[in-house]
């Protein structure tokens, strides 16, 4: 075991409301086109009232793209599409000879199917198609995808609400550092469900307009769906690649806010500790960070806590920062995976993503988020924040590399 060894990013895969793969995301970002719109896939009373960021493919279309049975949970289809893209992108030579794992995250597993099952079940508990509830568990999503990808050496699933994927990524990196694996596909997936839509609606944190993260007049988040994965490899495997790895995962930290089950502490204790811990792990100073991909949900509470924590840590020199949730909506358990992909792309192409719809600076943070799409910037170190219910706060840092 060498905990000081580096773990490299060798492949990327992503699907969300703004694209079905990495290339489509880059185009949407450059065009500054957000993915929110009316609900079209779910049968809910919130149609036309609450905008969401849907992947623009029906369940059957998604399953077909993924190569899965038509009645598969969206969560699994999304996961397989993005994970396969990442694995193909990495194109690891002689992968059959390596120990490969799949560490995936999600928050509600096959809930989109369970919702159908329960409609019949609650009227008569001998009714309801069992096929619709068989893969309810979060772990089932991971298992289905691992089987399709032919991964057997190690698989597990993490669920820490909205920080799930970020925790999956750094757990996978630690599996490599601890010499359990050579290669890991890590990230997460979540589909839109009535369960989560109504859940967040009861908390009164959904914006009925397109969300405005880090804006003084923000009114809540828009839910989204998608999946995002990185292929992580050991130093040894990185040297065998036919192309240069994108970057390395240089820092990570998981801290708990320990304040409230759903609300963030006013001073953003958990967020502060996560960012500070990730910096310490990477050996970098705040001035080394070239871009922060914010958690930035657009809720008054999150953005205030996150902004306060950033001020406490970074003042007076703030790097460019933005919330890409202004494009993708909040994809919950998938968000850390999506945003890890965006962070890596920021290093690869020198990108700063705009924080769409930003107008008015927040009281808590004396700086504006990035407003324009920029490319060709010198971006070497990117911090990605993911914070969730249960006080679960995780920050990752990706760093360019010259291997």
């Amino acid at each position: 075991m060498n905990i000081n060894s580096s773990v490299y990013v060798a492949g990327l895969g992503v699907i969300s409301a703004i694209g079905n793969n990495v290339a489509e995301h880059l185009i949407s970002f450059e065009r500054e086109e957000a993915g929110m719109g009316d609900i079209t896939m779910m049968d809910t009373i919130h149609r036309k009232k609450l905008p969401v960021a849907e992947v623009k493919l029906s369940n059957e279309e998604l399953a077909s793209v993924a190569g899965l049975p038509a009645d598969m949970s969206r969560t699994a289809s999304l996961s397989l599409i993005a994970a396969r893209e990442a694995l193909d992108d990495a194109a690891i030579p002689a992968i059959d000879t390596l120990r490969t794992g799949f560490v995936s995250a999600n928050t509600v597993g096959g809930m989109d199917r369970s919702e159908h099952f329960f409609v019949d079940f609650i009227k008569d508990d001998s009714k309801g198609k069992l096929r619709n509830v068989f893969d309810h568990e979060c772990g089932s999503m991971t298992e289905i995808v691992a089987d399709q990808l032919g991964i057997k050496d190690f698989l597990t699933t993490i669920s820490t609400a909205c920080s799930s994927s970020a925790n999956a990524i750094f757990y996978a990196a630690r599996l490599i550092k601890n010499n359990v694996l050579d290669v890991a596909i890590a990230g997460g997936t979540d589909a839109l469900t009535k369960f989560t839509l109504n859940g967040f609606n009861t908390l009164m944190i959904l914006d009925d307009e397109f969300c405005k993260p880090f804006d003084e007049h923000r009114e809540g988040l828009n839910l989204g769906e998608g999946a995002g994965y990185l292929v992580l490899v050991s130093e040894k495997v990185a040297k065998t690649l036919n192309k240069k790895p994108y970057c390395k995962l240089s820092g990570y930290n998981n801290s708990n806010d320990a304040y409230h089950q759903t609300a963030s502490s006013p001073d953003g204790t958990g967020s502060y500790l996560a960012m500070k811990g990730a910096l310490e792990r990477s050996g970098l100073a705040t001035s080394d960070i070239d871009y922060i991909n914010l958690h930035g949900t657009g809720t008054p509470n999150n953005d205030s806590a996150e902004g306060t924590a950033i001020k406490r840590l970074f003042e007076p020199d703030y790097p460019p920062m933005s919330s890409t949730k202004s494009f993708t909506g909040h994809t919950l358990g998938a968000s850390g995976g999506l945003e890890a992909v965006f962070s890596v792309l920021a290093i690869k192409h020198g990108l700063i993503y705009p924080n769409l719809r930003f107008e008015t600076r927040m009281n808590e943070l004396p700086v504006d988020p990035a407003k324009k799409f920029l490319k060709g910037q010198n971006i070497n170190h990117v911090m990605s924040n993911s914070f969730g219910f249960g006080g679960n706060c995780t920050s990752l840092i990706f760093s360019g590399t010259y291997i």
Partner: protein
């Protein structure tokens, strides 16, 4: 580096919690479901909070708090849980209301407490613990994934006194659905007679077991957690045997060094064939024990198995209720647990005397 179990606590369908003799009297259940015996939660949780907490949260929090108390530790260095099903009671409550109330006028509490990380989060909240906090939700190896995380944190010198636990609840709804999926026996049986029935299906169970792990030696440590391994979809019985042998060899052991093998026999003939065959082949010279007649079958039952193994090491007593085959005398110094969940997820844990 060695990893030690500093303390443990377990809420289960047996009298395993608090100041009780180690499985001295076994509780009999007739049916196909074993329910956890719940302690007086007021000792562990503010009574105002108890009312709002679901079964799994109460079990998890109480077992965690008792484990810390047993380990004379106020603040753990990390909190890690494993749960396959998560907070089922709250999930079903919220889902049912969405359907029955047609998505209108829903109270948020059930949703708030439905996330899989609620148990780990509530422990952190009660302790004001800002340290590493993670939750694994991978079917039959949820607990093992959490345990692996804890051992890696110790290896990395990242934290000490790591609180790690496995918890799952059985609700009336999940029992009905899992019964329809054919997991349980079609006729009522006694858990004391579970392995003799020779029919398909098992008995459902539930529980929460927590452990405090450290790399520091101490006379009060319960046992050493020597190693852990999970196997996904092994190819054959020979493959399982080979991997068990390799696992032991990596720890400089052979099967002859194992004083007791505790297997996850569940009474389901469709699943027990693996154990029966291993008991006649690789494990043929070993003392054997079972545990699922005590706690029932559930995805994190291996946490109960670890609690059982570590307490056998600590007390030197193999409770009569556990014994399947006893050929060698003496207090066990090395115990191997071997469990598989639905033949898909297999896990090995090696627990040793200090």
């Amino acid at each position: 580096m060695s990893i030690y179990i500093r303390s443990s606590a377990c809420i289960s369908p047996q009298n395993t919690f608090g100041n009780v003799d180690f499985l001295a009297e076994v509780v009999e259940y007739n049916g196909t479901r074993l329910k956890a015996i719940e302690p007086d939660y007021k000792e562990f949780v503010d009574p105002k909070l108890i009312r709002r907490m679901s079964h799994i949260i109460k079990m998890g929090v109480a077992a965690a708090m008792q484990c810390l108390k047993n380990g004379e530790t106020e603040m753990p260095g990390a909190i890690i849980t494993g749960t396959a099903y998560g907070c089922l009671e709250d999930t079903v409550t919220f889902l049912t209301r969405i359907i029955e109330q047609d998505e209108e006028l829903l109270p948020p509490t059930a949703f708030i407490q439905s996330t899989h990380n609620t148990v780990a989060a509530q422990i952190a909240l009660m302790l004001k613990c800002h340290q590493y906090n993670n939750t694994f939700v991978h079917k039959g190896i949820s607990f093992e994934s959490a345990l692996l995380d804890a051992t890696m944190l110790l290896n990395e010198n990242e934290a000490d006194n790591i609180l790690v636990g496995g918890a799952d609840e059985m609700t009336d709804t999940s029992f009905t659905i899992l019964s329809r999926l054919g997991l349980y026996k079609r006729w009522p049986v006694s858990n004391l007679n579970l392995y003799a029935t020779k029919t398909r299906g098992t008995m459902g169970g539930e529980g929460a077991a927590f452990f405090l792990l450290t790399d520091k030696t101490s006379d009060s440590n319960v046992a050493e957690l020597t190693a852990i391994r999970t196997i996904y979809k092994p190819e054959s019985l020979e493959d399982i045997e080979r991997r068990v042998i390799d696992f032991l060899a990596e720890n400089d052991l052979t099967i002859d060094d194992i004083d007791l093998v505790i297997t996850g026999k569940s009474g389901d003939t469709a699943h027990d064939d693996i154990y029966e065959q291993l008991n006649q082949s690789l494990f043929k010279g070993n003392n054997l024990g079972n545990y699922k007649h005590l706690c029932g079958e559930y995805p994190t039952s291996s946490a109960f198995a670890l609690w059982l193994a570590s307490n056998i090491i600590k007390t030197g007593i193999v409770p009569d209720a556990v014994v399947e085959r006893h050929t060698k005398a003496g207090a066990p110094k090395r115990i191997l647990t071997y469990n598989h969940y639905q033949k898909i997820y297999h896990s090995l844990m090696l627990v040793s005397a200090i």
